[in-house]
Symmetry: C2
Subunit: 252 residues, 2 copies
């Protein structure tokens, strides 16, 4: 099994290990060391690539063909979207329990797998909730695509502290779903994402990576949001060094 990078690498590695299948994970060379180590700890072979100069889809396709592996893409895969959509089922159920009749659901959005899955689940179970994808400034391909109606690309492929959710553009499968069900997008700065990481440490007692905190950052720092906000916190793969640096700079 081969897999292209991303926040979900550990999930694929774990699934392969549970099923006794060999697993190759293709990760950016600048991924957090903890993510690489944890993925290897699940028994996966980790291959690194340079996300500034190499195309992971091309590498993944070539590797899958050469070694007879099934390729599981990180977001442009119907089953991945469906799996991430279970978050939307949980949101719908908890919102009903809390008596929330209308709200904005903020998602941390990279290629749009999680966002599309949540949007599909809410369309079926809680259509009164609207999904607003959140992205780091400078990498707001989804926000711009939702405005233009076509898949826009980011100018750069790296350069945000929220690298885990930086992708070149919305997916082929995810974008039509996003376009039909989501928006408008929200954008936060790297500093706002870091302040959300520090706030989650102090008040929620959970560990978030900056890319997993952009929705919380939008909830905190975009004052034009409606009253009721539901927020996803979607990743904690952050090295101790970066985390302590964020707490030192933003945690007072």
């Amino acid at each position: 099994m081969a897999y292209s990078s991303g926040n979900h690498a550990q999930g694929v590695a774990l699934a392969a290990s549970r099923h006794g299948l060999p697993c190759v994970i293709l990760m950016p060379a600048d991924a957090p060391a903890v993510k690489i180590a944890n993925t290897r700890a699940y028994g996966a072979e980790v291959m690194l690539y340079d996300r500034a100069t190499e195309d992971r889809d091309a590498i993944g396709a070539e590797l899958a063909a050469a070694r007879g592996l099934a390729l599981v893409k990180p977001f442009d895969d119907a089953q991945v979207i469906a799996g991430q959509g279970t978050v939307g089922l949980e949101i719908a159920s908890q919102a009903a329990e809390a008596g929330i009749s209308a709200a904005s659901v903020l998602t941390c959005c990279g290629g749009g797998g999680l966002t599309a899955g949540i949007a599909l689940a809410l369309e079926a179970r809680a259509p009164q909730l609207s999904v607003r994808p959140c992205e780091p400034a400078g990498f707001d391909d989804t926000a711009r695509s939702l405005i233009s109606g076509k898949r826009e690309r980011n100018a750069a492929t790296t350069g945000s502290i929220c690298d885990a959710i930086v992708t070149p553009s919305p997916g082929e499968i995810t974008f039509p779903i996003l376009h039909r069900l989501c928006g408008p997008g929200l954008v936060v700065t790297d500093d706002e994402a870091c302040r959300a990481v520090a706030l989650a440490f102090h008040h929620l007692r959970i560990v978030l990576e900056p890319g997993g905190a952009v929705a919380l950052a939008a909830a905190l720092f975009r004052p034009d949001l409606p009253d009721t906000v539901i927020c996803t916190a979607s990743g904690g793969n952050v090295d101790a060094g970066l985390f302590t640096d964020i707490l030192t700079r933003f945690g007072a």
Copy 2:
């Protein structure tokens, strides 16, 4: 309402604020700054005392009498024990769901409120699970009391990084429950508690204070435990400075 210190101060302050009641919280002067700040943020008046030289029960009783307040003790209170016992209900329910027929339930134990509550809940709902209180080395009053059959005291009142769960001795109400249902106790060093904090950061993505990580530390570092271990993680009131220090020293 007055309240003597501890990890539960914020809960009492929140409850008072929800009910529109005035609230005085009595906390050790060496409590984490974040805990003091969060308690004040709930609208409570925070009074500090020196836990090395002053007796919080005496201060609390005097203050309650002078100002006409109801005193809510941190563990020696039947309703506090019952409230914390809901953790035991959750454990019983999740253990049944997971098909666990026998296990050791490790608890972070100070005065024994949480431990007694869990033990009572499991006695009713999952009597095949046994409760083992975990404490920091040098402050193992409960472990020694379970051996001797009477309430032993610690030689010192401060001096562990797990200060949040350091109490002089098991409670009057809690100890008979602990003696009937729990043991033997487990003891971990401060370094082991810190390693558990770092491991929880890296692998569980939750923020624990050292005192809330002693059960996890016992699960990790006491190799004589039976196969199935259920572990409570019971507090995350840790300042950014201490947390980054722990990650720096133990988080590699």
